[in-house]
Structure formats: C-alpha cells, structure tokens
Symmetry: C2
Subunit: 355 residues, 2 copies
C-alpha cells in the first residue's frame, strides 16, 4: 500500500537559488531588470492601494533581521532579509533573503522563493527606475562606489534602463573592484577601475553609493558633489548607518521610497524629522516632476521598501505561470476533511504501518 | 562536467508536513505535547530576555495574515499564520502556518518548517501548561466546545499534562463532534459527545472554547459558568472576534500571554484598557500564585504569542539534531566569494553550457 501523497492544497511552488539562477540565465539579466522595473513602476503608480508599514526590524550588535510585509488587498507578500556587514568574513552573504506571496482571500501562500538574487535584481531595477526620472538628461557615466555583491547588478540596470555606457568603480578593497571589473567585462559597458572615490566621480553624472558598514560613514563629502549630479544612495539602510555627509543632503532635493521608513533608516536620519522629501511614487505617478533643471542635485535615498519585493514576487509568480522552473513544496497541511488535522496524522501512521 | 552543487551555506533544514507527521508518530503525540510544554515553560520563565511585539496583522474581510517574530538575542524566530474562518468551505485549513528559526549572529535561517501541525501542538501544550497552574486541584473533566482541527490536540494535552480523564464535546456541527469523538476513541479518555454547550459543561472543572467565527460570538453566557471553574478561551484571537459574554470576564481572574497583544485580540478587548490582567509568565516564574482558592473563576484568555512558536521551533531544531527526518533546501545563495553573487550566476551558466 503506497503512502498517501501530499494533498494538492499542501503544495506551494518553491524557487531555489539554483532555479533562480536558471531563470536569470534564461531570461537574460538585462531583460529581467527591465521587466522587473516595469512591475515595480506599476506598483508604485498604485501606491495608495497598498497597506504600508515600516519594516519590522530585530537589531543586534552584529546586524539586523527584518520582515517586510505589504498587501494590495488581493495579494500579500513579505520578505525575510538580514543585513550583517561582517558576514563576508565567514564566507556568508551580507544580505540574504527569501520571500512569500500569498492569496489574501484564503491566506494560503502561492509562492516561496529565494530572494538573495531577486533582491539584488529588484534593488538595481528600483535604482535605475528612479534615476530615469531624476538623473540629468543624457547621463552616460556612473560612479559605482562600493563594489560588493550588489554592484554589478546596479551597473547593468543603469545600462539597460538609463542608457549608461561607462561605469567608474571604486571600493576600499581593490580586490572587490577587480572582481566587479572582471564580471562586467564584455557586457557592453566601458569599465574604469579607480583607486579613490574622488577619481571615481570624475565626469560622472550619476553616483551610486553601496557600502555595507553598519555605522555612520562618509563615503561622499560635500566638496565631492558638483551641481547637476544624481546620487543614488543605497548602502545606508538601517538606524545608525549612513553614507553621505549631512551637507550634501541639505544641498539636494531628496527622493525616498516610504518616508516613514526612510526617516528611521535612510540618509535623512541625519536631518530634522520634518525636512521636506518627495516619495518616488509621486514622480512615477506624474504628481511630481522629478528633476526640474540641470543644476539641481537629486538624491534617491533608497533603503528598499516592501512594495518592491511585492513587485518582484508578483513578477516571479507570472514567470512561473509561463513555465519557469520550480519545485513543489509540501508546506501546508491538507487533510481530506479540513477540520480533521488530527485524523490526517493518524491515517498517515496507519498507511506507513501497512506499507 | 557536473553542475556545481549548492554550497553548504545555501542549505537550510526543512520539515515538510509529511516529515512533521512522521515526527509526531515517532515521538508519540502525548510525549511531544509534554516536551513542547517544557520548552514553552522554559521560555516563559525567561520572558524578560525576549524582544516582544504584538504580531503584525494584515486584515481583510475574509480573514487575517499575521507575522509573529521574536528573539532572545541568540536565536530569532517568526511564524507566518493565517486565520480564515470560511476556508473549510473550500477544503482549506482555517489556520495554516510555517515558521523559521534563525541565528542572530549571522542572520541566516537554520530551520524552515511547516507549522500547521506544530501550531496545533504548541497551542494545546500552552493551554494545558497554563491550566496546570490555574485549574482547580484534581480537575478530571473538561468541556471542549468547538470540535474543529484544534480540539483533539487540546483534549490530549489536558490528559497528558493536567491529568484530565473525561472530555465532554460540543460543536454547533454534530459532524465535527462525531469526528473528534472517533479520533479520541481508544486514547485513554472517556469521551462524551454532547448536543448543547450547556450539556457539555455539566460537571466540568475546565471549559475550553475553541470556535472559529470571525465575529463577536457568545459561546458561553454568564449563567453557564459556576464558581471554581477554569476557562481556557482560545478561539477569540483577532480584533472583533470573541467567544465569552462580557459578564463572565468581570467575574474572572484573567490571565493572558502578552497583554499588549491580548488587549487588541483577546476576550479582554470587551473590557476597559486598564482592566487588571496577569501575564502567565509571572505565574510560571513564581511571581504570581495563579489560582488562589476553590471558588475563584480563572480565565486564560489565550490568543497565541510569538514566544510559544519560538519554543516550538527551538524544540524542533533540537529534535533534528537528534536525527529527526528533514530535507535540505537550497534557500540561500552561497557564492565561492561572498561578494561575488553576480559571478556565481555566470559560473553556473558556464557549467550548464559545458554539461
């Protein structure tokens, strides 16, 4: 007598790291970034439909573990993500993540997925989407400061979505710069490794900072930032962690994802709580012009928001619907009679005994 | 050329529903309830070490999806759980859940598990643990009102942990009562199916209510509750969902898990915000006597709290350490160089092409 198979309602599609790598290779990374940006933009444009809350963070001396939930009333998504700057010393990722998309009507998960790779993609897609509206017209050169796990994704997103043709790389660790330069070779970008942040920003219309220290750092000082530049600051993303000198902030027009969260975690934690900022959805929805003139310094103070993960989960679910690889996970109990959870275990025991 | 296997740090132990059923059968359900109660008690006794927050709930007209995180500074746990009273109409569980335990030092998950079955077990273990300190001495008879998926677990926990020898079952649906009675046959309990709540509580020293309507209901009215009884109310667990008439509450000494959460979700949402209640950890830690005399009506207004899930996750992780069945899930990216997430995908692509 065969063991009873898990009931159909017990199974949840699961995308492993390996399955995600296959999806990235099949789709092509630039195509995937462009498609992701479209989903992210669509969701930002219907911002008012989402339940929004700052993420729920558990801080420790080593790092942070966060849950990032949101819902549009039909689907519910959340991401689990950590941030541990010293993890690389033990061969671990600074940021790892996984996420779940659920059906609000039943509360049942419909997708479980790795999100370490997917977060890198959605973060890059969000940065480039914002820059499309904030960077100076015709920007071709980006300085990429911080050449860790996120950097290549950023560079390719700005190429695919904003038309950047040159990236100038700098990291305090030259090995990281070398790694990024090798990975970006042959990808259609001119790649210029630099030995200082000052050198990296020479001639750059866009400056992306993505460093991982969990402390107040000053990656950019005020005199380094000329007029007309767009700054994409994505490394400062928790209380006590910033990358830019305060004087840069006061000279910039600041754009954020969700101000209630960014005031806790972003660069603007250095400013008064009522310092004016613009939520990026207002730009994407046409309620705010974004960049107004050539001299304006624009700053996207990005910490990552739950709707971006929701968009990424929604994108991935649609891909699975078109046949992308995944496995089915026996995650939810599915007894014959939904009220007979206890009996399900007993019947399984009898089947095991008889098998 | 073989494809690269997922790196060791990418793998997270996963306990599926089937694996959990095997564990329950191997351990024996009463033994498992007793062991779980010990873990839950240990954690309640060190209550002050935990980061505590009311769970994060996303409500809809159909139900609720909740995230329940907590941490003791070394481990971090969270549970995803839904509550959808009408789910049984489509063959789904009212409550399904899964959970994760992580290492605070790295932020890396160390366990992913189904928690539909595990939640049923930990809820029953918590109820019986509280009753051991709150029910009248020598209590032998329990009324079990609401005979859904949770009911058999409750009955066996009260047998194993409190020495109950008789359960009196009632549900508005006689089929549910019949199901519970059949499941409990031969388990060492006298089982009395009843046709009304009034009949069920005859001679009972403990009354457990576990019904699922998402609304204010009155499962027990004031005249039904005599002096000396212990009430274990576990079905009211979200805003607008209660089971007991308000007059019962004002006659009872009320014990709760975490008052900040219970005032939002429990029976006591019917009372003033400053109505005195005792957190159950104070009883378990010896700071409050629990039941003081034979005439006192005690009420455990239980909505389920994150530390109970944390205890269950910790218990399960220890079981896996002793060899309990599970599989390894490729959930976390583990590149050779932790900063080379991008390169990992490229190298995988080359290996696929060469294979």
């Amino acid at each position: 007598m065969p063991l009873p198979a898990p009931g159909p309602m017990s199974l949840v599609p699961f995308v492993s790291v390996e399955a995600m790598m296959k999806i990235v290779l099949e789709q092509g990374i630039e195509r995937m970034l462009i498609d992701l940006a479209r989903y992210i933009e669509d969701d930002f444009r219907r911002w008012e439909q989402f339940d929004k809350t700052p993420r729920i963070a558990a801080h420790s001396s080593e790092g942070v573990i966060e849950l990032m939930p949101t819902s549009d009333g039909r689907s519910y998504g959340f991401k689990y993500v950590n941030g541990h700057p010293r993890n690389f010393q033990t061969g671990r990722q600074t940021v790892t993540a996984f996420g779940v998309l659920s059906d609000v009507e039943t509360g049942y998960p419909v997708l479980l997925t790795e999100m370490t790779i997917l977060t890198a993609l959605r973060t890059a897609a969000t940065s480039a989407l914002a820059a499309k509206h904030l960077a100076p017209k015709g920007a071709k050169v980006m300085a990429m400061i911080g050449n860790g796990a996120q950097s290549e994704f950023q560079c390719l997103a700005f190429k695919a979505i904003c038309g950047i043709d040159t990236v100038r790389l700098y990291d305090i660790d030259p090995k990281a710069t070398g790694k990024a330069a090798r990975n970006l070779a042959g990808k259609g970008l001119a790649v210029v490794p630099c030995t200082s942040a000052e050198q990296a920003i020479e001639g750059a219309q866009i400056i992306t900072t993505c460093t991982a220290d969990k402390q107040y750092a000053t990656i950019l000082t005020d005199n380094m930032v000329g007029s007309g530049v767009h700054i994409n600051a994505i490394g400062g993303d928790c209380p006590g962690k910033t990358e830019l000198h305060r004087d840069i902030l006061t000279r910039s027009d600041i754009f954020v994802e969700y101000s209630a969260q960014t005031r806790i975690e972003g660069e603007i934690q250095q400013l008064d709580a009522d310092h004016p900022v613009t939520e990026i959805w207002q730009v994407l929805a046409g309620k705010n012009p974004g960049r107004r003139d050539d001299k304006q310094i624009t700053l996207f103070d990005s910490v990552g928001f739950a709707t971006e993960d929701f968009s990424a989960l929604r994108y991935l679910k649609d891909l699975l619907g078109s046949g992308a690889g995944h496995q089915m996970l026996d995650l939810l109990a599915d007894p014959d009679d939904p009220r007979d959870l206890f009996g399900m275990i007993e019947r399984y025991g009898k089947a095991v005994a008889a098998a």
